[in-house]
Symmetry: C2
Subunit: 430 residues, 2 copies
């Protein structure tokens, strides 16, 4: 299998001040093309360290993708180090200089002098156009040395360069034979251990496929992988996937990498339904997730982050008696929040979340992690979907710290919506 | 300087399906103690690969921190591989078995049988109590082999184990001499290039210190680092920090790792002020960020995610004429959203964000990335803070994709709030 290495450059990575999301993205993108990342190395902003690591990586695979260290400042040393390793002088690329000047003009700002160095290019190297950033990508190759590609460390810029230039370049340069095939199953409302028990016999009987559990904070994905010489791997994968889906039933929400929020958005859009949210302990997280994808304005009418009890009363019509008798973290409050949010803006569907994210605020009766959920449907929609009751409520006691609890609460609310929007509706299990 | 290595285990890391945030956190945490991470290696869920990589890492530094592969399922091989490398049998730890059973009982769920393997412990190894997860940490040491620590891959569990057990263990085990000292400056409302120009002369005159620019999507941090033998490094760092702060003025919002949302929360709390938000294109992101930290209920009364124009009219009182004449992405709409949100719940301060996050919806006049911001202050608060005008509005055209634009918009709104809450108020520059 064709192989490449990743060299991530930056003191901030070595000291842990920045999390390197680029290496994972690149590995995943190239695995899809059948190119394996066989090693990831991280070095600091140090000329010698960059050259040593790059030379060693080139000696192993002959193809190295570097990220970072292409900024305009004194600690950005990558381009100089690479030019030195390849024994090349550098020249100003007039085309890129013009691009930079025009961009600053359009934003009405004079171009800072320091940006000039970003138009320098090692002789004989290829400039890869970067539509959003000031540092272009650079590809440089020499017989007996190998191919090095330089990309900025800003994730969106790196991704743009990969798609437009680097992936096509690698496919031409390497000879890709039989890609690794893999398929995902995404589950919600079931724990890793319960999932493992339910499919244990299938897991032992997968023939040439391997099965991996990918537990995240708020959900567990399964990945089936087919490597090596299998006749018709897509059919083999599809058959195994069908067995797992049949066994897991409504716990499966996707057989690709679809995000649960994206899925809920699609279900609402395709049913022509509108949504309102009332969030308390999640503080806007569900609304943010639903609007991460473009087009949320098709269904998301409004979200009320009713953090304070006054806001619960004023904007989503929670009754004072409810708060006094049951407290804000109660089935009754969640139900009134959902119905209040739904009717306030005239939405077809609403979800409400009210709980204790911690670290403070817990009690014996309602420990930290206690979250009440409610989904409210308009009578018309409830009828159409075959729900006898237009309200679905559920309580979970989520484990973890504040951030985990909020993430789990967001995922659970989305899963409640997904299940409510499915005709044969169901509720998630702890 | 004492050194250790990190071994991250999991197919999902090698294939890029999960981003490894643990390595960065561990590196940062240990750098504070003067322990350097000199290499990071990632291997898949493969018994031989784990043992080979661990043996090589132990041979280099004698201290290896492993994360991942301790789950209850068939692809979790770490504990077995390590027991084999150290030549140890395994036994059931009765104490941990009791802990597991009690936890499941408290949640009212029977313990899945597969969790049993998580109570296995290599003979002679030390079990490190994990208060939130089902896999304990494990420390195992042998003269001539070295020390290996196993931790779960779930970030919150790993962090808990590090703080409670692993950091103290490493400090006892290694002899920490002179830690690397570093200080941060966090800036907002200034680009990396503009920042570099403004402090170029200081950057050249820092003596034994090194200066790094840490550009993120929505802001740029500076890090000053002091390594090696410098007398009174804290004083040297503090002097350099003061020079930078004086030069950069109101662009600096923190000289430690304080998050901008946390800072704004603190300013509101210490001034006894309450906040309301009206978010359109950010979809709840600012509210989520402010409530990520505990205690947001002290100041955050409510947030309105007025995604739809009907919601802008109904809940924050934007006038139909404003929408018809100027559109939703306009100074007038932002101002009415802020004032409407503020008065609806009777808050002291409100911020509003309305813009075009893209990829669609842009025009020549209002391209994708155009965002209008408004901060509204109650007359009383405006007077107290010395603002002549209780409204502060500002337009930015942010570069990047939808996710970048939303992140930049969230940061800019928080920066507007920070500046508005400062007596000598100012506005951010593009």
């Amino acid at each position: 299998m064709p192989a490449a290495e990743i060299l991530a450059i930056g003191d901030e990575l070595l000291l842990g001040e920045t999390v390197d999301t680029n290496a994972a993205w690149i590995a995943q993108r190239l695995a899809r093309e059948g190119i394996a990342i066989i090693r990831k190395t991280t070095v600091g902003d140090d000329d010698t360290a960059i050259r040593d690591a790059l030379a060693a990586a080139l000696a192993r695979t002959g193809v190295v993708l570097c990220t970072g260290g292409l900024g305009p400042t004194r600690d950005d040393l990558t381009r100089d180090a690479v030019a030195r390793l390849y024994g090349r002088e550098q020249h100003v690329d007039d085309g890129w200089m013009t691009v930079l000047r025009e961009r600053y003009e359009r934003r009405g700002i004079p171009m800072p002098e320091v940006n000039r160095v970003q138009a320098l290019l090692p002789d004989g190297a290829t400039l890869l156009h970067n539509p959003t950033g000031t540092a272009p990508g650079i590809a440089i190759e020499q017989v007996g040395v190998g191919l090095t590609v330089l990309m900025p460390g800003v994730p969106s810029e790196m991704r743009g360069l990969m798609e437009a230039h680097v992936v096509p370049l690698l496919l031409r340069r390497l000879h890709v034979a039989r890609p690794i095939r893999s398929r995902m199953l995404r589950t919600a409302g079931i724990s890793e251990a319960a999932l493992a028990e339910r499919i244990d016999d299938i897991a032992l009987d997968l023939g040439p496929l391997s099965l991996a559990f990918l537990p995240q904070v708020a959900s567990v994905d399964l990945r089936l992988t087919c490597r090596g010489d299998v006749a018709d791997p897509d059919a083999v994968l599809a058959r195994a996937l069908d067995r797992l889906k049949e066994r897991l039933g409504d716990c499966v929400y996707a057989d690709d990498d679809t995000d649960l929020a994206v899925l809920v958005g699609r279900m609402l859009r395709s049913d022509g339904l509108t949504l309102a949210l009332a969030e308390s302990c999640t503080g806007g997280l569900v609304s943010k997730r639903l609007s991460d994808a473009a087009g949320a304005s098709d269904f998301l009418l409004a979200a009320f982050v009713t953090y304070h009890n006054d806001a619960k009363r004023a904007f989503v019509g929670v009754r004072s008696e409810t708060l006094a008798m049951h407290g804000a973290v109660s089935e009754q409050c969640a139900r009134e929040m959902a119905e209040g949010a739904r009717t306030a803006i005239g939405a077809d569907v609403a979800a409400a979340i009210t709980g204790i994210a911690g670290p403070g605020g817990g009690s014996d009766e309602k420990p930290v992690g206690t979250v009440w959920y409610a989904v409210a449907l308009s009578p018309d929609v409830a009828g159409r979907l075959g729900h006898d009751d237009p309200f679905i409520t559920r309580k979970f006691v989520h484990p973890g710290d504040r951030s985990d609890i909020r993430e789990r609460a967001g995922q659970t609310a989305l899963d409640m919506l997904r299940r409510a929007l499915t005709s044969q509706h169901s509720v998630p299990h702890p």
